[in-house]
Symmetry: none
Subunit: 192 residues, 4 copies
DNA sequence: GATGAATGAGTGTTCATTCAT
DNA sequence: CATGAATGAACACTCATTCAT
């Protein structure tokens, strides 16, 4: 009795979900508001009641991600720049990526479309920060790349290994392990 | 008197160049044929004299890339699957990437837009082939990933390190060196 | 304790005021109910509690004007058609115009928009009546125009002299004086 | 054989004509490009081949008017500021108004809609210039208004006397005559 | 008295594409 | 080789309006 429409959740939420779904299917630009509305069985105008523009929908989607990312960076900046911190950073990054997998895929596949929207820029910035946190400040170019490569493994591996056999959990675990090895090896060279 | 229009190169070529230029600036979907035509100072209809559709322009651009890639794969498949082959493969891939840098960036940033065009599919396929050639057929998941990570480093490093200081040549060389180390280390473990 | 909300006047009144304000700023067609509601800090639906349609708001605004106008005409029709009556008519018209200045400006600037609404038609009608009352019934075309021109001066002068220096009161007084002269001169010719 | 389509004149011209026709019938805002296109039996997109925006259509319409007006002002500014000049100015203005009658009516009835477009502003400016040229620079407010009223008669009389009996030519002639009298009378007082 | 959610019909505008010349 | 003129389909977005609560 508490709710008249048990299934309907929040409409804004449903719009976000369906939008992401379609953005992943056909890409951001090729997904029209008409399609989103039709799949939700509401009118286009209803979308505009909940979001000011199409861009707004995507912004609302990426908000969640941005926050997780920022927290991750904030945490790492508060820790001493040791190997241990970096290993933990990789571990946590892996979790964030796993949680927001489809959003990250959307981000990755639609870079051109999102480029001149706020969060396109923002995520570039954040990746740079992460990169900076991975490498020893005194490392030379090769040294830097050794560490940053670990980040690539965790980050791009998630997209690139879609067709590899095995569950996503297994693959993520394996990627993390390899990245961890890389980080450790890089550290050994540096201090060796 | 040999040529009436010394400067004009081939018009088809100029269209391709300008198109790529604009695709990189604003993305494939947001670049209209009108824009391309205007920047070339011809009419839209003129483009249709040289290319059947907008998609055709992008296909013609990616043709060159596809060929290099296929040759690379064909070469590697003809060699014994040794560490040395894989190191050479990485070296050659690096060259192909350097040569077609802007095309690869275009490919990377417009995945969603190109997804349901021929070459989108094709390049996915080719990347899988390359992945397969990098890893020992008997390696387990982690083993595979160790080798494939070297590929990630060379491939994604090119995009991700744009803002890093240093010339692109230096960075590519460093990426290749690190990837080579990774490959060697992976091999050592495997045979270790 | 007599009123719970001392400041709020009547909401209907506030809607009318804000609507007129916005109609004058951007014009009737370009003013949306959303804007009116936002400036009043209520919802669009609230407007519909007080007025049946957007047109209704404008009708309610012009009602006051229409009445003054009709009274003016009724008065003049009850008087003998002498010069003195016409001079007084001009004087009274000037007052009505001064009182409803912003409404008249609205009417004037939005003729096209109001054309197929009731009051658009009505005001045209009323202006014709006024015109008829100004001129001697036996006057020829030029004679008519001499008298009606006095009316133009009072009526259009109010809009056209906005940027002239001086207060609105001064300008209105001057306009009335000139119109009065015109009327008298016209009469002199007629009876001369 | 010279022309394949004898009747078609210039399409741009036909668009302008039809647009003005409809703007006068329903007002600028209430006339949609769909309507214009339908009445011309072309597609909306065809309009966009000839004019960049809806606003552009109206600008192109008013261009002609603006020029006549500017020439008129330029002429008057080059003459000595005598009564004779002003009488001639009125005569010429009357002609310009007669020629562009429907455009002026459009301008007059759609002030609100045109307000924040270029020519809305421009025409206000031009009317002020004309006003300045009518009156003696040394005249006081009432003196000014006496002269400017002559201008009102010619200008607004054209719109206000639509329903009066008589041909438009007759009415325009009568309006001009009365305005001329007013000017002369005003001058007499000034120099009297 | 007023709101939150939604609708249906429209708007101006842009796009890839075509074709006679 | 290339253009001028046009099209059909779509798009993002806005509006006045409704109605259950």
């Amino acid at each position: 009795m508490a709710k008249t429409q048990t299934r309907r959740k929040d409409t804004s939420q449903r719009i976000q979900d369906t939008a992401l779904e379609l953005f992943l299917e056909h890409g951001y630009e090729k997904t029209s508001l008409r399609e989103i509305a039709e799949r939700l069985d509401v009118t286009k105008a209803a979308l505009y009641y909940h979001f000011k523009t199409k861009e707004d929908i995507v912004l609302s989607l990426l908000d969640r991600l941005g926050t997780s990312f920022d927290e991750l960076i904030a945490w790492a900046e508060g820790e001493p720049p040791t190997l241990e911190t970096r290993r933990e950073l990789l571990r946590r990054l892996n979790e964030v990526l796993a949680d927001g997998a489809s959003l990250f895929r959307f981000l990755q596949e639609n870079q051109a479309a999102l480029r001149d929207m706020r969060p396109g820029e923002d995520f570039k910035e954040r990746m740079k920060s992460l990169g900076g946190l991975m490498a020893d400040p005194e490392a030379d170019m090769v040294g830097c790349i050794r560490s940053v490569s670990a980040l690539f493994t965790v980050y791009f591996g998630g997209f690139a290994l879609t067709d590899m056999e095995g569950t996503m959990e297994e693959k993520r675990a394996a990627l993390l392990q390899v990245a961890d090895e890389m980080l450790t090896a890089a550290h050994a060279r540096e201090t060796g």
